[in-house]
């Protein structure tokens, strides 16, 4: 089971509680998470299913590589952290 955790900043807009979900890739893990919390999907992924430009994902502390296909492997018991990058996003 992957342990999925979200930045506190997102909680103001949509509830994203930590969850343990199954999945061998980031895409599978997030799909499983969004089944339980469908409103969160659009806050993390864009129209084409890519990680939003100013969002960042760490898997076991490693930075996500495949922002488009979400094919990065997720090991059993690994933490998946969804955070916002400090680049961009807020213009003022």
């Amino acid at each position: 089971m992957a342990h999925v955790r979200f930045t506190a900043n997102i909680q103001r807009h949509v509830a994203c509680p930590p969850e343990d979900v199954e999945g061998a890739t980031l895409g599978a893990v997030l799909d499983a998470y969004f089944v339980r919390h469908p409103a969160a999907r659009g806050y993390v992924l864009d129209d084409q299913g890519r990680v939003r430009k100013h969002m960042a994902v760490f898997i076991g502390g490693r930075q996500l590589e495949d922002r488009r296909g979400l094919a990065d492997p997720v090991g059993p018991d690994e933490a998946v952290d969804v955070v916002q990058s400090l680049s961009g996003g807020a213009t003022s």
Partner: protein, 369 residues
């Protein structure tokens, strides 16, 4: 009935009401969030607001009670880009994206189609809902038109649909404005589309292409509800007017202090009367001589008055964005807001103005309920 005006700003949505003593801010919603547009649907009483979260994307919210309570609703979603298909932007030649950047227009459909809402987006999408915004479908005939891929950004990285006019005589007759893609018209509710900007002139293009309808940059396109064949456009390099439903346009030149601006409002009952907020043209975008003024014509653009009573007349650098000027249903009360957070209201058709606030966040849009 209390008159209400919604002001969408960089840091929230502010609802103004007219109480006994005058206009004031009655409510703040989404404080701290970038609210880019707020539009009331007079048929259902719904209020729609769009938020543009820098990190989390573009969201839409709907209120059944004028902003007291809100519910997040679906945001428009672009279709999946076909595998291997890499459309390029026509000017820069960079890959064109198929993902929502901005909701730039929300327009309730006709009185005979409750629940229908049109939505214009950046990049270049037109969406339609038949269930008050619970779900959206992109208009494929327009999206799939190869001429749509010739649109390009005006002041932004992507082209966008910012104006949607639904003919009150025929809900299937819709005219839209695109920066930069001119004006497009459907007569059949969106099944087929025609380019409709003949007569518009683009100074920013090579001379031999200046009159191509599909390259025009209408900053805003508005329709007179009483006489829907009359439309006004504040264009990137001038003011244009149509009296034939947008098929052909005549340029109105030599308006002092400037024909550059973003916003235009047309009187709901008098197609000859329209208001503009002029500025020094595109490379500067500040009021001429540091004076905030509104220009008004009451004779179809033959003559204009410069209205300044109550507006700052020295060292004022307020810019008014395209959706930040509005006129109410009577044609008497107007409001506009600026990039530097000022909000003015007139209750005499623009003859005089009062400042409701000079300390708002940058104003994106002003809309009477």
């Amino acid at each position: 009935m209390t008159e209400v005006c919604h002001v969408a700003t960089r840091k929230g949505l502010f609802t103004l009401e007219r109480a006994g003593a005058g206009w004031g801010i009655a409510r703040a919603s989404f404080l701290g969030d970038n609210c880019t547009l707020a539009v009331a649907d007079p048929r259902s009483g719904h209020l729609f607001a769009t938020l543009n979260h820098g990190h989390f994307g573009v969201k839409m919210h709907r209120s059944p009670d004028g902003g007291a309570t809100w519910q997040e609703i679906a945001a428009p979603v672009y279709p999946e880009k076909p595998e291997g298909y890499v459309p390029k932007t026509p000017v820069e030649g960079t890959p064109a994206d198929w993902a929502l950047k901005l909701v730039w227009a929300i327009q309730p459909g006709g009185a005979d189609e409750p629940g229908v809402i049109w939505c214009g987006t950046m990049p270049g999408g037109l969406f339609r809902s038949t269930d008050h915004g619970d779900s959206w479908a992109i208009n494929r005939p327009l999206w799939d038109d190869p001429r749509r891929e010739e649109w390009f950004g005006g002041g932004a990285d992507h082209p966008g649909i910012h104006s949607i006019c639904v003919d009150p005589r025929d809900s299937a007759h819709v005219l839209i404005g695109i920066s930069c893609g001119g004006a497009w018209r459907t007569r059949d509710g969106g099944a087929t589309w025609d380019l409709a900007g003949t007569g518009m002139r683009a100074e920013f293009m090579p001379p031999e292409r200046a009159f191509e309808p599909n390259v025009q940059d209408p900053h805003l396109l508005v329709q007179c509800p009483r006489d829907p064949d009359v439309l006004w456009v504040q264009h990137h390099n001038g003011i244009f007017r149509s009296v034939d439903g947008g098929v052909t346009w005549l340029e109105i030149a030599d308006v002092k202090p400037s024909t550059f601006g973003f916003a235009v409002a047309v009187h709901p009952h008098d197609p000859e009367t329209a208001w503009f907020v002029p500025a020094i043209k595109d490379e500067k975008r500040i009021p001429v001589d540091g004076r905030v003024v509104v220009t008004r014509t009451r004779d179809g653009g033959r003559t204009f008055e410069t209205l300044s009573r109550g507006l700052p007349q020295e060292h004022a650098y307020d810019l008014v964005f395209r959706h930040a000027l509005d006129v109410d249903a009577t044609g008497t009360t107007l409001a506009f807001g600026s990039t530097t957070g000022s909000l003015w209201i007139s209750e005499d058709g623009g003859d005089s103005w009062q400042a409701v606030s000079a300390n708002l966040p940058p104003v994106h849009a002003v809309r009477f309920a």
